[in-house]
């Protein structure tokens, strides 16, 4: 039991999020909650997801009612031990001030860019604490794919999410579209950022890229986190790659997005719109086509990146048991790695089970560097 | 300007094609075989042919509702035109344009235009494209005396001068805007008098005389190609038929048309001039007459047996490139 009063606040999922809506409460007022328990579901314009209790105690107040729209940082509820007097709780609620600027779209960190190896890379640099953690997103995504993870992880250390070549705000030239080429490119960006030692986490295609980087420069990589990673076996859903590459409109993209999640209900129209926003950028589709042709032709992964894998790098493998894009069985590829499978999650396990995944990554980084 | 034998033969062939085409259309319309509105160019052949002799397929023209002559002079396919007038699927516009919107962009013919005064702004655009893309090409807008009084025309004269466009304004003054005399409707009497107000040269030409038109147009086109800006030509002549087919022309003087045909026929004038100067022989010209007669008869025969557009398909296509 904590002695203090903990606020449950509206999170900021992604840079554009200004407000969210309360869509479900999972605990009654006065009920006991444990740390990590899902207490309330919130829907941002992008995605619906659950917020977990940061500490155990009693849910003393449900400040926001179902359907309420709150700005980022707004008070949703209050958790405190039974011993805290009612008057203190009331005073806390009454005195709570939504952090200034948090709700504004202009506030918060902004994407920066850096030139490296003749390319421009976009990246989002949050938090402080060495060694930093570098996040590499998947095929057709961008650094915003880490919106559930980066802010939380950045509470403990510096976290840099970077756009792969051909994606997001990075330059559209993807070279030959090979994982090795992408890894070399990201390597130049890491050098340009002056990172000598860092943790590396990659999702899907970004996982393969992270593996290749770790293989090429193991001495720099403090630890490696592979989330539903490519590069660990030949199987991949070729239909998904083809449909994703071809999708131009909401209907097509909705089908694609639903493949990514175990629970299709997580796919809001806004999430689909965000995926389309990435794809509408000039050159993105062409870049995806090139990568798909080189690395994922005929529904097979062309490169076995893990082959020269250095045992020296501590590795955590995270997978969703219901991953329909890359099979969870690939998690066994790296012997000696720590393996964490979330049976109910899909390919976007870091979004679907973000609280637990964040905790795992945070602890793994802390233990290794 | 000295014209080669080939050029003379071509000019006569074009004028004869226009005349025979229009006479034929007149007959076909009278029998009820052709639908819609048709406005015939017979009597005005020297203008279209005299101007277009200086142009190639990359030079653009915009025509009027009386557009068949401009089409033929610019090199449009005569059979395709006849099929279009018959509303056939294989007409130059797929049967969707008809007489008043007949066009062939591949020949630089940007369309007959059924909106009087609709063409000059578009011609400014064609000239602007030539200037911007530095193609050395020019644009010509044909406008009637009626169209000379439209605001669009005044605006275009001004814009063409301000932008110094490679554009020739050809005002074909046949004396009538529909049934209204240009002596009444054109303030100041002569359209050519408007040119100085827009800071451009203006030339009035006898439109029955191919050689006069050819010479004046040649200078205007050259000036435009040199980048010296627009020119206004007023071509004065008369039409052999009514405003449109079915027009009883009671507003015209008794005997006016017969006198025009007898004394001012531009084809007869051309024949007289070239044969008397021994540039071409009567036999040369007779051969062309026969050749064109066959061409036009053949085009009518072809049109009659050509398929109609398919309402299930063709009604709905060609609205957008992609929608």
């Amino acid at each position: 039991m904590s002695e203090k009063i903990a606020a449950i606040v509206m999170p900021k999922w992604g840079m554009a999020m200004e407000e969210g809506t309360v869509v479900a409460w999972h605990a009654e007022e006065g009920a006991a909650v444990t740390e990590g328990q899902e207490v309330v579901d919130v829907e941002s314009p992008k995605i619906a997801n659950a917020i977990e209790a940061k500490q155990g105690g009693l849910l003393r107040r449900r400040v926001a009612a179902l359907g309420d729209v709150l700005p980022v940082g707004g008070l949703l509820g209050v958790i405190a031990g039974a011993e805290v007097p009612e008057a203190d709780i009331d005073a806390f609620v009454k005195g709570y001030v939504t952090p200034a600027g948090e709700g504004g779209a202009a506030a918060g960190p902004s994407v920066a860019s850096i030139e490296a190896g003749g390319r421009r890379f976009a990246y989002l640099d949050q938090g402080a604490g060495e060694p930093p953690l570098v996040l590499i997103h998947g095929f057709g995504g961008d650094l915003g794919s880490w919106m559930f993870n980066q802010p939380a992880l950045a509470e403990a250390r510096r976290v840099i999410a970077i756009d792969l070549p051909g994606h997001g705000g990075s330059q559209k030239d993807v070279g030959d579209g090979s994982v090795a080429g992408l890894a070399a490119a990201i390597g130049t960006a890491i050098d340009a950022l002056g990172l000598a030692r860092y943790h590396l986490a990659g999702h899907s295609l970004g996982g393969a890229v992270a593996l290749a980087i770790a293989g090429a420069r193991p001495q720099q990589v403090a630890s490696l986190v592979l989330v539903a990673s490519a590069g660990l076996g030949p199987e991949i859903d070729g239909g998904f790659i083809a449909d994703f590459t071809a999708a131009e409109r909401r209907k097509e993209m909705t089908g694609v997005a639903q493949m990514l999640f175990a629970d299709p209900a997580l796919v809001t129209r806004k999430l689909v719109e965000d995926m389309l926003r990435i794809k509408r950028i000039d050159g993105v589709t062409e870049a995806m086509r090139r990568i798909a042709a080189r690395s994922f032709a005929q529904g097979r992964q062309a490169e076995d990146v893990a082959a020269p894998f250095p045992d020296a790098v501590p590795t955590l493998v995270i997978w969703g048991g219901k991953d329909r894009i890359v099979p969870a069985s690939h998690a066994d590829k790296i012997t000696g790695a720590r393996k964490e499978i979330f049976p109910a999650a899909g390919h976007m396990v870091h979004a679907e089970a973000y609280a637990e995944v964040n905790r795992l990554i945070g602890e793994f980084c802390a233990a290794n560097g | 300007m000295q014209l080669s034998r080939t050029a003379l033969l071509e000019a006569y062939r074009k004028m004869r094609t226009i005349r025979t085409f229009e006479d034929k259309v007149h007959d076909l319309f009278e029998t009820g075989e052709l639908p819609g509105f048709v406005h015939l160019y017979a009597g005005e052949e020297a203008s279209a042919v005299g101007v277009c002799a200086h142009l190639d397929d990359e030079d653009r023209i915009i025509s009027t509702h009386r557009g068949h002559g401009h089409c033929i002079a610019k090199g449009c396919d005569v059979e395709g035109m006849m099929l279009e007038l018959f509303g056939r699927r294989d007409g130059v516009c797929g049967g969707k344009g008809g007489s008043m919107h007949i066009a062939d962009l591949s020949k630089g013919m940007m369309g007959a235009n059924a909106i009087v005064g609709g063409g000059p702004p578009l011609a400014c655009g064609a000239a602007l494209a030539a200037k911007t893309l530095k193609t050395g090409k020019v644009a010509v807008t044909f406008t009637g005396d009626g169209g000379s009084n439209q605001g669009t025309t005044f605006e275009s004269l001004n814009l063409a001068s301000v932008w110094k466009l490679p554009l020739i304004f050809v005002f074909e003054n046949n004396g009538y805007a529909e049934s209204t005399g240009s002596g009444w409707s054109v303030a100041g009497g002569d359209i050519v008098r408007r040119a100085p107000a827009f800071n451009m040269p203006g030339v009035q030409v006898d439109g029955f005389d191919f050689f006069a038109v050819h010479e004046a147009a040649g200078e205007a086109v050259e000036r435009a190609r040199r980048g010296e800006g627009p020119t206004l030509l007023e071509i004065k002549f008369g039409r052999f038929y009514g405003h449109h087919e079915g027009d009883a022309q009671t507003y015209r003087a008794k005997g006016e048309v017969a006198k025009l045909k007898a004394e001012k026929d531009p084809l007869a004038g051309f024949r007289k001039r070239v044969t008397s100067a021994a540039l071409l022989t009567a036999a040369d010209l007779d051969a062309i007459d026969a050749e064109i007669e066959t061409l036009i008869e053949g085009s009518v025969a072809l049109a009659r047996k050509s398929p109609m557009p398919d309402p299930k398909v063709d009604l709905l296509t060609d609205v957008y490139i992609r929608y």
Partner: protein, 336 residues
Amino acid sequence: MARILTYREALREALRQVLEEDPTVIVMGEDIAGGLGAPGELDAWGGDMGVTKGLFGQFGPERILDTPISESAYIGAAVGAATCGLRPIAELMFVDFMGVCFDQLLNQGAKFRYMFGGKAKTPVVIRTQYGAGYRTAAQHSQSLYPLFAHVPGLKVVIPSTAYDAKGLLISSVRDDDPVVFFEHKVLYDEARDHVPEAPYAIPFGEANFVREGEDVTIVAIGRMVHVAKRAADKLAQEKIEVELIDPRTISPLDEDSILESVEKTGRLVVVDEAHPRCGMAADIAALVADKAFKSLKAPVKCVTAPHTPVPFSPVLEDAFIPSDMAVAAAARTVMA
């Protein structure tokens, strides 16, 4: 990369990028640079609303063309040039001025493709501002887009956000058909949004779901999207969940998204700043009556400006423009 830009800045960036990517793109209009033939500075205005400010300096007089006040001539020239290899973007300062030049679009540009049997290509964009709210009264405040949506051959684009403004303008310029692009004069400064720096193109006929809800569908156009958003916020406090749809283009119109939403909610409110007769509100209401009648749980409500010219007096103009209160009231009516 996402930065916050105003609607005006987003439009200017789109113009700069299409001018950079394609040498056949030209921009023309009245005072789009400003100061030609005048003793003071060049590029003095950058257009009536400053959207084109700075382009003259970068691209020069051959690509940024000031025109005399001759809408027929230069709108027509833009149309004509489009058939001859250029991609002109003509700025019509206020859509109200279409009254003096409509022929060049209505009878010319819109018809070429069809009249000429599919052989013409007319990639012209007419950018124009519309809408009330600036106390500019009857001849500078109209929302005339239904006139254009009525005409086959034209595409009609009405962005409500800075993000859409940029992506839709780039799509408009790359499109091979004539496009009329409507910019709400109040949004130039009021609408601001995350806008990627790189060029991007938003497809036509793809509505945006501004928010999702189960109870009532609101379709709103242009500036009315923002009005409807405020109404939806109010309604959420009353536990009425609005699904707000911004069609973004009204020709083509994303019928599927509207129908799909109404089939879910069973209720429809259409919000339009144009007049009620033969407008988009009536059009969308008719669409739903025709194709999703059985899904309806209540009659469709239309919230539009009245059948009057736009008045001058601020008191009257404020009453003319559909309000968030009116939208919320309409939603409550269909929920009752």
